[in-house]
């Protein structure tokens, strides 16, 4: 053993505050089983607890999703809001709430035809697309658009779609309390009853084994490869060390936009790729993007901190 190690151990071992700490052995099987029972793993990321934000009374029931045969915890709305109905194919759930109907995904892996059947059955012209996404975006709504129409995103999570007769139709997002880090996402969408405009909604679904992510989330968001880390204004060398610990590699380095321009608006990152050997370890990381392959990220860097 190295003499420094030996001397340090002699110096410090007696002061270990946890040297007498032992967990209660009888509780270990219970804790382990609870973790297994209560934690959704990647193949089951569709299992999600629904937001009770807008509902005053929450009663947990269990619904079985057709095909996937997953137990899903559903929060039932009280009677005065309207009853929740599963779509005919049980790929979607609709909750009527006055002039709006809330739509949520029940089975992100369902065949898209099943979604269309559910929407058509309710007289809605909605094209629901599912894209392979990184874990933090699975089961979340990540885009709303209307073919050949202007969609304005509001800061409150809602959207305005300009109809052909110049009237604005308002569609609202349903807030996702768990969030997606720096990315925008919603738990579902509230569509006006009787909407006839064609709407395209994109939800994220877990990528299948070997499948690349079409859309990537904030790599530090929950469930992602760098979950819980703060990268901004750490040096490149520090971040690369953190990445190695998480078995993650850098897909691309991008030059950060020059100050004082805020954010990345108007800055085309694809035109500012830097070769990795040209990025000194003393530079600073401004931002990280998820890579399209698993365990990869792209870093936005500059010689100065952000």
């Amino acid at each position: 053993m190295n003499s420094d190690v030996r001397q340090l151990r002699e110096m410090l071992q007696a002061h270990d505050p946890a040297r007498r700490v032992h967990p209660d052995a009888s509780s270990l099987p219970v804790i382990a089983q609870r973790i297994i029972d209560e934690t959704a793993r990647p193949p089951r990321t569709a299992v999600r607890r629904w937001s009770a934000r807008r509902w005053l009374v929450a009663v947990s029931v269990t619904a079985v999703v057709t095909g996937a045969a997953l137990a899903v915890t559903v929060v039932m709305p009280p009677d005065d809001v309207g009853s929740m109905q599963m779509g005919a194919t049980r790929a979607l759930a609709f909750t009527e709430d006055g002039d709006y109907v809330d739509v949520r995904i029940m089975d992100p892996d369902a065949d898209p035809r099943r979604y269309r059947q559910d929407f058509t059955a309710r007289g809605l012209n909605v094209d629901l697309q599912m894209k392979a996404v990184s874990p933090s975006l699975a089961g979340k709504m990540i885009s709303v658009s209307s073919p050949a129409r202007l969609v304005t995103y509001g800061s409150d999570g809602g959207f305005e779609v300009r109809d052909t007769d110049e009237k604005n139709v308002r569609i609202e997002g349903i807030e996702d309390e768990s969030g997606c880090g720096d990315m925008w996402c919603q738990a579902g969408v509230r569509i006006p009853v009787g909407l006839r405009l064609p709407i395209t909604i994109v939800f994220g679904r877990p990528a299948r084994p070997g499948e690349r992510y079409e859309i990537t989330g904030d790599p530090t968001a929950r469930g992602e490869v760098l979950e819980g880390l703060t990268l901004r204004n750490r040096t490149v060398a520090e971040v690369e060390a953190l990445l190695r610990q998480r078995h993650t590699t850098v897909e691309t380095y991008y030059q950060a936009p020059p100050p004082p321009s805020p954010g990345s608006g108007g800055w085309d990152f694809s035109e500012h790729v830097i070769r990795s050997r040209d990025v000194p370890g003393t530079w600073y990381v401004h931002e990280a993007f998820g890579g399209h392959d698993r365990n990869t990220v792209s870093l936005v860097v500059d010689s100065r901190p952000r």
């Binding site: 340090l8 270990d16 270990l28 804790i31 382990a32 979950e227 060390a241 953190l242 610990q245 998480r246």
Partner: protein, 179 residues
């Protein structure tokens, strides 16, 4: 089902180490939560876990969780905060107040090391890891870890010998004995 059995086995094998790891850094109140959350993430990402040697991965995950916790709560007491959980004498201690004061001096000296050096020292001394494992967790090469430990050992010895009072402690609450 294989995964569940394997995970349960890993949990039993390493839970105590992770609990102690957290205990040494955030104290008894938060350590069980950090340990449980670490294993929750481990189960969530079990497919990607290095199963032949999961402990370094578990430590890194626990450390990130603790960093978030400390940042969120703006806790700046560092290791000396651990003394708040020190409620009674340990076996073999003749004078508990002297022992507490000495421990406080040691913890305060450790606090004066850089974050990376301190983590390396603790991993080697308290977690009992060898240099290769500790270097892997801290994210440096083994030669770099050797050099950093040498530097840390010299600095700690200097801090502990040149100042007999608790280092960097504005509170006069720990009276040193005459021993």
């Amino acid at each position: 089902m294989h995964d569940e059995a394997d995970f349960t086995r890993m949990f039993h094998e390493h839970y105590e180490s992770v609990l102690r790891y957290a205990w040494r850094r955030v104290g008894p109140d938060d350590a069980p939560d950090i340990a449980a959350e670490t294993f929750r993430i481990a189960w969530e990402k079990y497919g990607r876990l290095p199963r032949d040697e999961p402990l370094p991965w578990l430590y890194v995950t626990a450390r990130n969780l603790m960093s978030n916790l400390l940042r969120k709560e703006e806790r700046r007491d560092g290791l000396t905060g651990l003394l708040l959980g020190d409620t009674g004498p340990r076996a073999g201690e003749e004078d508990h107040s002297v022992a507490v004061a000495t421990r406080h001096t040691v913890l305060a000296a450790l606090n004066r090391l850089s974050d990376g050096d301190r983590e390396l020292v603790l991993l080697v001394c308290w977690e009992g890891l060898d240099l290769r494992q500790a270097a892997k967790i801290v994210g440096c090469s083994r030669p770099a870890a050797t050099m950093r430990l040498h530097r840390a050992r010299k600095r700690l010895q200097r801090l502990l010998t040149e100042d007999s009072r608790p280092v960097a402690d504005p509170r006069p609450s720990y009276r040193r004995g005459t021993a």
